[in-house]
Symmetry: C2
Subunit: 224 residues, 2 copies
DNA sequence: CAGATTATGTCAGTCAATGACAAGTGTCAA
DNA sequence: TTGACACTTGTCATTGACTGACATAATCTG
């Protein structure tokens, strides 16, 4: 049982595997994991991330502090677990885009796909996700963790892009460049979205598109 | 005496202010600050960042642990203090570029300027800087701190760009976009540079240019 | 030199994170 | 059902980053 081994969105019943798991043990793990996340978010919202001790979270769920760290590598890790799920969604969406699309188009569409896939999941789910984003965007430490997570997983995007276009990521800089630029504008978009008060997902998508649209314009010449 | 109030490159004798400071106190502060940085880097290089306790650093300099935290907000803070200096150089360089240059050109030239300004500073200085970059690039925690620092100061670049081009950063996304993209490629460049073994500064500059050159190409169509 | 500033040391304490070992619980086959 | 085996959890002890409070000592200022 290594920390954050099995990442999964909160109460989203596993795609159902055959029979190979008599369930009780796994079910309990999932329960405590979900309970920890839920209690943590609740506390974070009230007292703020920094001022919530791990101890308080585990007390609320009635498990030992040690157990917490067997589920999550760190306090940060819990907070960004949602981001992890979103990123995984995006990666799958990107891999699924038709090869006929050029890289930028594929990335843009994949972003929308992943957003659409997670958004209507359930209203309650969306609300939770929104509160997490709000939390992350307003907590410097989590913002940094988020940044770091995105960076650590850029190479996966790079791999998919390079495969799609049949280029060698070791010599061709374009896949790395596009992957990094995607991360950048996704980040800018969620900032703008937060500044607007985290309205609906479609506003986030619109902000993303606006940034994507202006990339070449920003590089062009004078802005007059 | 708040932490990291006065950031300055290591042994670079202050631009000399009139007379208003009878010096001794300031001189001593500078001394211990430099001594802490020096001892820290030496230890980091030998034992690695994570495995060097603040206690060991302060023992080497013979000050109390508490004093360390009066000079640096955190252990990370010490390590990225060099990055701060470099960023400050870049900002000044960017502000100094002629307004006739279009934004992208100005940013690229400013990057080279700041590199040139710090590089020949002194051979020993350069060596120190290189070891810091190596350290940061090979320590996940520091990489994250670096990322965060860059992000936290994007707004300064945004401000300069917006002023240069006479646009409103609140409504026009282009300054934010270019600032973020600059950060991205500067980051990619230093990674590539590290992977090549941190050769000379000109190699870093070349990598930066290569990325800058390919930005539009990466956004264009298929890469074939 | 007196008296206001300011830096430093000491101390006690919080909080995150980890290793080691014991105790409890679930699983599976005989 | 039972008993061996695989995990999971709790307990305990420890390290290390960081902070607040207060006393002390050094450096200004006049």
């Amino acid at each position: 049982m290594n920390p954050s081994a099995a990442q999964l969105g909160p109460p989203a019943p596993e795609p159902a595997e055959g029979q190979p798991e008599p369930a009780r043990r796994e079910r309990k793990k999932r329960q405590t994991r979900d309970a920890l996340i839920l209690a943590a978010l609740k506390l974070f919202e009230v007292k703020g991330y920094e001022h919530t001790a791990v101890r308080e979270i585990t007390d609320a769920v009635d498990v030992s502090e040690r157990t917490f760290f067997r589920y999550f590598a760190s306090k940060e890790d819990l907070a960004v677990s949602f981001i992890r799920d979103r990123t995984a969604l995006f990666l799958r969406a990107l891999a699924a885009r038709p090869p006929a699309e050029d890289p930028l188009t594929a990335v843009r569409n994949a972003y929308h796909d992943s957003l659409a896939e997670s958004a209507p999941d359930s209203a309650e789910n969306m609300a939770t996700y929104l509160s997490v984003v709000r939390l992350i965007e307003s907590t410097p430490a989590l913002l940094a963790a988020n940044l770091r997570y995105l960076h650590d997983h850029d190479y996966e995007i790079v791999g998919i892009l390079a495969r799609r276009e049949g280029v060698d990521p070791a010599t061709d800089r374009r896949p790395r460049l596009l992957a990094a630029m995607f991360g950048t504008i996704a980040f800018l978009a969620s900032q703008e979205w937060r500044d607007k008060g985290c309205p609906g997902p479609e506003v986030l998508a619109a902000a993303f598109d606006a940034y994507a649209d202006q990339m070449t314009a920003a590089l062009a010449g004078h802005w007059s």
